[in-house]
Amino acid sequence: MIRKMEKEYAGAKLGIWLFLFTEILLFGGLFLLYATYLSSYPREFAIAGREMHLGFGTANTILLITSSLFAAMSVTAVQQGEIRKVLNLLGATIICAMIFLVNKYFEWSSEIGHGFYPDSPRFSAGPIGEALFFSLYYLTTGLHGFHVLAGVGLLTVVALKVRRGAIHAGDYVLLENSALYWHLVDLIWIFIFPLYYLVL
């Protein structure tokens, strides 16, 4: 019996990692396009990149890193059987994620307000590669935002299960795997941040 559980634990761990690999490649397609269009339109990308709000980007980076820390700590906590702490940490993670999304909302609104959105009149007039930068930016951060949302949902479910006692020191794969997913969301952002906010 113990052996069977051990097997299932290891299986679940392998499974979630394989899933994370597919996520990496999903975003990989967008990074591929970014790389190719950056190499075709370095100047236009640089001009477009300067329109980005570094403040929003940095704030969001810090938020995600911190939330990642909370998620990692919640795993330690559950391993040590500190259920109250787990709940607090998960709550903190979720709050960070929410603030991230609110930030994102304001950032997008401000950009759209300035006339940067796909198919906008401003782009039809501007240099030819600029629109590509913003299209990629919206698609990438949009897809990422969607993942953040999914992560919030997932962590909420996990938190409820922890409270119900379904997740505990003896069986916490679900928590650990959700944390892994959350770290991946962070990881993707770690690359989005320099590519869209910094290098240009």
Binding site: T22, S40, L132, L136
Partner: protein, 541 residues
């Protein structure tokens, strides 16, 4: 409980040993065998629809000019034919049906690693399939882009591309989950004694396939999403007037779709590697090389995608690299072929239906693969790219290769799961008709391509007429064979002779359990003591 839907089966098989036999006990079952059969039915429906469309295409091409339909219909039909065949039949077919039915038993497991995820995969498949079907009847009508969805055409056309593409996306998601499930299963759930060196070659091929599903499919996913975004939001990423590059779409598309052709063929190769030793009563020749070459095909196959784009305007450097790698990926296939043929040497060969299909697999796949070499060489590709030659090539590898392997597996393994079997004679006749009809249908296409008839042509010049007519007639013979085969299998599996636990004399684990197997597959967890082709110890784990 109620035995009405399978009259005389022993009460100990997965058909009824849980006591749950209603429809909902099937569509919500997490048993890998039931899910495998669900896949079988759904995949076969797609196949039969698509195959009938293929027949219509051939009738239209019987003579130049309009024969039975207009160009708009023709274009929609070949698109639907391609999409159904590729995304709803052959890609989900092997992993979904035989990967599910056989692979867990072959490694001595009682189920896959994530049974509920497995069920979700099937549901996603169904959702995606229904979405695709829905796209045919709503909006601007069935998509008319070809299964490749090339931009800018797919962005400009008024047909219902967005919905169809979303359907394909969902099916792709299902494929990813199956891949994850299988890799985990093969790593974690092998029975005691089932060392990597004792894995049946079918399992090796499913393993290699699953990796392609995991690593390549997400790229297709994002590509399709981009097409939708392009259509709905006007993101302009592939629109040249806004700096986008339509060739980038082709890169992304083929980064998935070339490896995908190995998703289609690798399990077929695995099946042939099972059938040859069993019907020649001899261990497979070069076990290690065959197992290794499956991984090599999966790996090297991910590096050759741009050979579909030699004329598109990619750089000459890219042509050089990708043409070279295309030839590299042919070598592991050659190794396999030589090892299979050597397995026959000094064996004791019985020519039953599975073996006949497997032998013809070798011939048809060789023709398909060798025509692939003609396409892989840069100079010759220029002439035959986008001609009927390509159509001939891929029907030879997909239908003659993967398809015949699928039929072979249906004859070899399905009786195991139904406990009853088909009659041998109609099986032989249907095989003969299909083999003859197949060559008559597709060889003319290869010649037509050499003569310069482009593909996706609704109408053609009179000089191409005779060969097209021959091809059309061939498709009727093929159709007759296929129909006989389907009827024979269908009747046999439901009402035919009982099928013992190991009539073929196989040495892999699925032949150590009863036919049909119980839900738990084995009465007690097997401990494997010998390799998969050690026929002296066939029948015991």
């Amino acid at each position: 409980m109620n035995s009405s839907n399978h009259p005389t089966l022993p009460l100990t098989s997965f058909w009824n040993d849980t006591g749950k036999c209603g429809v909902s006990a099937w569509v919500f079952s997490t048993d890998h065998k039931r899910i495998g059969l669900l896949y079988l039915y759904s995949v076969l429906i797609s196949f039969l629809v698509a195959v009938l469309i293929g027949l219509l295409l051939k009738i239209e091409l019987m003579a130049p000019g309009r024969t039975i339909m207009g160009p708009v219909t023709y274009n929609a039909l070949f698109t639907v034919h391609g999409v159904l065949m590729i995304f709803l039949f052959i890609i989900p077919g092997f992993p979904g049906v035989f990967g599910n039915l056989v692979m867990p038993i072959q490694i001595g497991a009682s189920d896959v690693a994530f049974p509920r995820l497995n069920l979700l995969s099937w549901w996603l498949y169904i959702t995606g399939a229904l979405t695709i079907v829905l796209s045919l009847f709503t909006g601007g009508g069935p998509p008319d882009t070809g299964w490749t969805f090339y931009v800018p055409f797919s962005v400009r056309t008024g047909t219902n591309v967005s919905l169809a593409v979303i359907g394909v996306f969902i099916v792709g998601f299902s494929s990813i989950l199956t891949g994850i499930n299988f890799v985990t299963t093969i790593h974690r759930l092998r029975a005691d004694g089932m060392a990597w060196g004792r894995l049946p070659l079918f399992v090796w091929s499913i393993y290699a396939t699953a990796w392609i599903q995991i690593l390549a499919t997400p790229v297709l996913g994002i590509t399709l999403l981009l097409v939708v975004a392009e259509r709905l939001l006007g993101t302009g990423l592939f629109d040249p007037s806004r700096g986008g590059d339509p060739i980038m779409f082709q890169h992304l598309f083929w980064i998935y779709s070339h490896p995908a052709v190995y998703i289609m063929i690798l399990p077929g190769m695995g099946i042939v590697s099972e059938i040859f030793p069993v019907f020649a009563r001899k261990p497979i020749f070069g076990y290690k090389m065959i197992a290794f070459s499956s991984l090599a095909i999966a790996g090297a196959g991910s590096l050759v995608w741009a050979h579909h784009m030699f004329t598109s305007g990619i750089s000459d450097m890219a042509v050089l690299v990708f043409s070279f790698l295309t030839f590299v990926v042919a070598i592991p296939s050659a190794i396999k072929v030589f090892n299979w043929v050597s397995t026959l040497y000094k064996g004791s060969i019985s020519l039953e239906a599975p073996m006949l299909f497997a032998l013809s697999f070798i011939m048809l796949f060789s023709i398909g693969g060798l025509t692939g070499l003609v396409q892989g060489a840069a100079a010759t590709n220029i002439h035959i790219h986008d001609t009927q030659f390509v159509v001939g090539h891929f029907h030879y590898v997909i239908f003659g290769g993967a398809g015949f392997a699928f039929f072979s597996a249906m004859h070899y393994w399905l009786p195991k799961f139904f406990g009853r079997t088909y009659s041998e004679k109609p099986a032989m006749i249907s095989w003969g008709l299909m083999f003859a009809g197949f060559n008559l249908t597709y060889f003319p296409m290869i010649i037509l391509g050499m003569k310069g008839m482009p593909r996706r042509y609704y109408d053609y010049l009179p000089e191409f007429a005779p060969l097209n007519l021959i091809s059309t007639i061939g498709s009727w013979i093929l159709a007759a064979g296929l129909a006989i085969m389907m009827i024979n299998l269908f009747m046999g599996l439901l009402k035919g002779r009982p099928f013992g636990s190991n009539p073929w004399g196989g040495a892999t684990l699925e032949w150590t359990t009863p036919s049909p197997p119980p839900t738990e597959n084995f009465d007690e967890e097997p401990v494997v003591t010998h390799g998969p082709y050690d026929f002296n110890r066939a029948g015991v784990p």
